[in-house]
């Protein structure tokens, strides 16, 4: 049903335990293939139209319009509290908008037919706090979606976990507990967990927050290398200007719930908008000071 009939040996007890642990779903029993888990994903396009959100009297997102191309790496920068995380949460349907639409690959995300995990597209998010489950090991965190979704046999899941951990440079760390990880490693495990969904769209909320410059540089390299290996649309929210400019094809600057500037990193650097200039100035002050 979910599997082809390539039987696999292996010890009986181990297999039996795997079956019990996964509630005897057919996919777990035998075979190698994964339903709906195709190698290689396609980036998706995203259209955000006149999105508004208020909490009580506090109008946080004001008429946001954005258009993101398939396969693009897009950054949203801006000071804290302007609604960047909130915008991401709208895209992954954690929060409902008061008005406006979000269209991914031509489908309105409010459409009940369009679910995450359906064959159309898949999205996943790397949260600011990494949000790893600390009752699970690194490997179990990465494999959680696959195991819960029960689309893959256990042998295959193990292989996918290995492969995704290798992508983020954490080979062989499956058995570690999340409490044994440093901040940078947690972020990378969170990325691997997102990649295990084979997403078409991946969203990073403040990936470098709380990381030292060296670690955030490493993380930038991981995200860069993913761009070459996996084709997907990437949205990065950050208040770290250099990080965003370094990684992105295009950058949008948010201020007070509005997009006030949009363009390639070069265009943003040259922008005449006083708020953008001020943001660039305050975040690069130290570096400029040394140069003078």
């Amino acid at each position: 049903m979910f599997s082809d009939d390539k039987s696999n040996g292996g010890n009986f007890l181990g297999n039996f335990w795997a079956k019990v642990a996964h509630g005897f779903s057919p996919a777990i029993i035998e075979g190698e293939t994964c339903q709906i888990y195709h190698e290689g994903s396609n980036g998706v396009s995203i259209e955000i139209e006149k999105l508004n959100k208020s909490f009580g009297d506090h109008h946080v997102l004001k008429d946001i319009d954005l258009s993101i191309k398939p396969g693009e790496t897009f950054s949203i920068i801006g000071p804290s509290g302007t609604g960047k995380s909130l915008l991401l949460k709208h895209i992954v349907k954690l929060i409902e908008a008061d008005s406006g639409r979000i269209i991914i690959n031509g489908h309105d995300i409010e459409d009940p037919e369009v679910r995450n995990g359906s064959s159309d597209f898949r999205y996943s998010m790397v949260f600011q706090s990494s949000a790893l489950f600390n009752s699970l090991t690194v490997g179990e965190n990465v494999g959680l979606w696959l195991r819960e979704k029960r689309i893959c046999p256990e042998v295959r899941i193990r292989r996918i976990i290995q492969e995704k951990l290798r992508l983020v440079g954490l080979e062989g760390k499956e058995e570690l507990r999340t409490s044994e990880l440093s901040g940078g490693m947690k972020k990378r495990v969170a990325i691997a967990r997102s990649l295990a969904m084979n997403p078409d769209l991946i969203l990073y909320d403040e990936p470098t927050a709380e990381l030292d410059p060296v670690t955030s540089d490493e993380l930038a390299r991981v995200i860069m290398s993913l761009k070459d290996k996996v084709k997907l649309t990437t949205i990065i929210v950050s208040h770290d200007l250099n990080f965003a400019l370094y990684l992105s094809n295009r950058v949008a600057m948010m201020h007070d719930g509005e997009i006030i500037a949009l363009g390639t990193p070069e265009e943003i650097k040259k922008s005449q908008n006083p708020i953008v200039r001020n943001f660039i100035y305050t975040t690069t002050k130290g570096i400029q000071g040394e140069g003078d």
Partner: protein
């Protein structure tokens, strides 16, 4: 008019809480159909509730039985009717003290840690992460805890009943003022206790177990505001489940007699 505003607000708040709790309960019950595929986490929760609470629950039950025996036994001895001590301790342990004391203990120990654990997951975005992984947090976190409590709390209570009765019997035998031999105590107790009393006591325990898990999960899901919010949610879960257990105890006793 200004005085009415806070009153109105708290009425709204209570109404909202009740509504949300009922919604959560319905959702948990709906996900009972997914129980077979979540057996591992159900068993893990059962062992947390049952095995980890067992020693302390037995200790508490032992002393409750003992104090009951000392208090009533010495009083009865004044009238020479101390043989009735078996019935009194037995009935109190089975009908009231066993279920209620044990449940309060579980609420303080397990319910609060459920609220803290789920609250921390809420605050640190883990619940959101579950949702983006297409895992329903109620199915994944709340339903196993509810099922575990529904079975583990009555099991604990059964142990507590036995231990409390034994404690009372030991005191009755040893205490010179009471001086009822254990076999007299035992016979008197078995004559007084009907198996229906035991079933009712265990049923109460099951309801209390449900309340503990329900409240712990609800309060956890509602946590907000960083580490402080997590702390507040543990306190809130204890207060709310104590209150609901007491109310439920009255209602159950009233309608099961």
């Amino acid at each position: 008019m200004q005085i009415l505003k806070p009153i109105g607000n708290s009425v709204l708040y209570v109404g909202q809480t009740v509504g949300e709790m009922i919604a959560l309960l319905c959702e948990m019950l709906y996900f009972f159909k997914e129980a077979p595929r979540n057996l591992t986490s159900i068993f893990r929760q059962m062992s947390i509730v049952g095995i980890e609470t067992l020693p302390i629950a037995m200790l508490v039950a032992l002393f409750v039985g003992m104090v009951l025996s000392v208090q009533t036994g010495s009083e009865l001895a004044l009238y020479g009717t101390q043989e009735a001590i078996g019935a009194i301790v037995g009935l109190s342990m089975v009908k009231e003290l066993g279920p209620v004391m044990t449940s309060l203990l579980v609420a303080g120990r397990v319910g609060s840690s459920m609220a803290a654990e789920i609250g921390a997951m809420q605050v640190y975005e883990e619940i959101d992460a579950l949702k983006t992984l297409e895992i329903n947090p109620v199915r994944y976190l709340a339903m196993p805890r509810l099922i575990a409590c529904l079975f583990a709390v009555p099991a604990l209570v059964a142990f507590a009943m036995v231990v409390g009765i034994i404690g009372g019997g030991i005191v009755a035998e040893v205490n010179p003022k009471i001086d009822v031999p254990f076999n007299v105590y035992y016979e008197n107790m078995t004559r007084a206790i009907n198996y229906k009393d035991i079933v009712k006591g265990l049923f109460k325990a099951m309801v209390f177990g449900g309340i503990i898990a329900h409240v712990g999960c609800y309060v956890g899901f509602k946590a907000s505001g960083g580490a402080r919010g997590i702390g507040e949610s543990t306190t809130r879960s204890v207060v709310l489940s104590f209150l609901l257990i007491m109310i439920a105890n009255y209602l159950l006793t009233r309608f099961m007699i």
